[in-house]
């Protein structure tokens, strides 16, 4: 990102906009970015802004784009007219902020919800921010092809930001809301009063137990299947069917895996850690198989031929020449698969409880962080206001603990990957 960003922001070119005549163009671009940021943040945090604020914002946008349009008249008439029209639309919307009713009832068209004007205005902010930004960039480069290219860069960076931004907001909220509740007692005590008091120790232990089961079941099966499908299986139609099935399985909703676990594993192992662990392993398998296959596929065929030509057998070739460079990819797949699996609620929620025996027995009922969170949420309004408040706090804190575990997993995976990558 360092290189792209550097070539996106042309500092020398930017300095030329600090003259009075050209400043409005830069200002228009910055304003568009502000539009998108404000709109996004308000949308994500369900903030309510006064109508006057929206009015001022859109009015400012009108003034900004209008002056930009006038200034670029001499460069390209057609394009500057586009900007003037854009400015006009902004003016229109600034007046509309007072006309749109606070809440539009959708029951006339059959919905039982109502559309808030905040939502509409925030969406407008985002939409006009993005399109305005692209127009502004184009104007800053005198509508030349470089301008369009910078505009395309902008779109791509916006997409990336659009993905990161909500993630940052979510992380922020979880950390800020959950951190106060993370105490030593919280992490080590048993559950009391349906989560209104006490800690989440059983849930943490439960998640660890499930993780161990997944590691011992899903990794050998998944990596083995990946190796088989890529290296040993031929071109037979049956093989293609298996590969397609694995792809399809990745899209199967997790609750279906839960039902599968209930139907196939529960009669044998009961509603226990074994059932849950096996069901979660099935959930993680398609991802692990797929990434293992892809990693092996990425190893150039020349290496295999070179090894065979030296008289090596297939398994010797796989073990010594093909697997080592494929390991970083395989490990990433494993870490991702496990991370997804232990955050899963739907697969095990049918038979999860809050408290388990210590030391945990594989044939006992399951406790795990995601199901703990869910149960707390379902029961959150029971009891006195203090209990409700404490439970709410615990919900956020449980979420934070789960987040930290998944993040730690990913970091471990990254470290292992980098260690192997350095060797080649």
């Amino acid at each position: 990102m360092g290189v792209t960003f550097h070539s996106f922001i042309d500092w020398d070119h930017l300095r030329s906009f600090l003259t009075l005549k050209r400043f409005p163009l830069l200002f228009t671009f910055i304003l568009s970015c502000l539009y998108a940021m404000i709109g996004f943040t308000c949308l994500a945090t369900i903030a309510v802004l006064d109508q006057i604020v929206y009015f001022m914002l859109f009015l400012l946008g009108f003034i900004s784009f209008f002056s930009t349009g006038i200034l670029t008249c001499t460069i390209n008439k057609k394009k500057s007219i586009r900007i003037l029209v854009f400015a006009g639309i902004l003016l229109l919307i600034s007046f509309l902020t007072f006309v749109i009713p606070i809440s539009i009832n959708l029951s006339d068209i059959g919905f039982s919800a109502s559309l808030s004007n905040q939502l509409i205005l925030q969406v407008f902010l985002i939409a006009f921010g993005i399109s305005g930004g692209i127009l502004a960039i184009s104007a800053m480069y005198n509508f030349s092809p470089i301008g369009s290219e910078k505009g395309a860069y902008l779109l791509i960076i916006l997409c990336m930001l659009a993905v990161i931004y909500p993630l940052v907001i979510i992380l922020f909220q979880v950390i800020v809301n959950g951190a106060p509740g993370i105490t030593w007692e919280f992490l080590t005590e048993d559950v009391r009063d349906i989560g209104a008091e006490g800690g989440i120790f059983p849930a943490i232990v439960g998640t660890m137990v499930l993780m161990i089961i997944i590691i011992f079941v899903a990794i050998p099966l998944g990596v083995g299947a990946g190796i088989y499908l890529e290296e040993y299986a031929g071109e037979h139609i049956f093989v293609r069917m298996i590969k397609t099935s694995v792809s399809i399985l990745r899209g199967v909703p997790s609750i279906v895996f839960g039902l599968f676990g209930l139907a196939f594993f529960a009669p044998i192992f009961g509603l226990s850690f074994l059932t849950g662990g096996l069901a979660l392993s099935c959930y993680a398998l398609p991802m692990i198989i797929r990434t293992s296959s892809e990693s092996l596929k990425g190893i150039p065929n020349g290496l295999r031929e070179g090894s065979y030509a030296l008289g090596a057998s297939k398994w010797q070739t796989i073990r010594r020449v093909i697997l080592p460079p494929a390991l970083p990819g395989i490990i990433t797949g494993i870490v991702l698969g496990i991370g997804e699996a232990i955050g899963e609620t739907a697969v095990i929620m049918f038979f999860a409880t809050l408290s388990i025996r210590m030391p945990p027995n594989l044939f006992d009922s399951i406790a795990s962080l995601p199901t703990h969170l869910y149960t707390l949420f379902v029961f959150r309004s029971y009891g006195t206001p203090e209990e409700v408040a404490q439970r709410t706090q615990n919900i956020w804190s449980t979420a934070l603990v789960l987040l930290i575990i998944v993040l730690a997993l990913n970091v471990i995976g990254l470290i292992i990957r980098e260690k192997y990558r350095k060797e080649f």
Binding site: P300, R304, G311
Partner: protein, 255 residues
Amino acid sequence: MSEKMQTRMNIENLSLWYDKKQALIDVSMPVYDKKVTAIIGPSGCGKSTLLRCLNRMNDIINKCRVDGKIIFDGKDVNTKNADVVELRKKVGMVFQKPNPFPKTIWENIAYAPKIHGIKNKKKLDGIVEKCLKDAFLWEEVHDRLDLSAMGLSGGQQQRLCIARALSIEPEVILMDEPCSALDPIATAKIEDLIRILVKEYTVVIVTHNMQQAARVSDYTAYMYLGKLIEFGKTKQIFENPKEELTENYITGRFG
């Protein structure tokens, strides 16, 4: 003067099909001991295919059928019962695109001996040194044997692959256009290497470069559209071709 010629390998009536398409049509030719045999011909004529039959590398290709005999050490190796691992220990191959393993230089050369049972580190060190010296690479890499082979230049990588092929002391070395991915200087080094290797090993080289064949080989086989058109001493093929097709190719009427 009569040279007592020993035949190292004998190809008898070899035909090959990729699925339904016949790529080799009834090819018969000898491979003489401690001589360089070049296989030349236009693109797609089957040179590499023929070469790969000699160490059964076509086995790994799907839907490939090979008929005919390949006699090596008195036995036909083109049968289901033949020991392919033993064959490949004695018949090594160097590929068009250098394919060093993503390991250290030392491990690249020690790979094959290790697989075939040699575990003694001193012995392996000795093998690594000998092979790198034989491939004229020792001087350049002897002080960085534990660095990755991927850091070497193209020419060095190809010489590493040659050294790797020598590590299990084969009798025949097959080379599939070994210089086509290299610059002229690296090419010249490898051609010199071939002339020295042939004192101890039998070499079969496929090349699309006629001048290279003329420079480097003792015998030349000219192939066209899957058939062996002419085989003979290099001097005779290039100066006095018997077949018209050969002559057309040599003189550049088509290529």
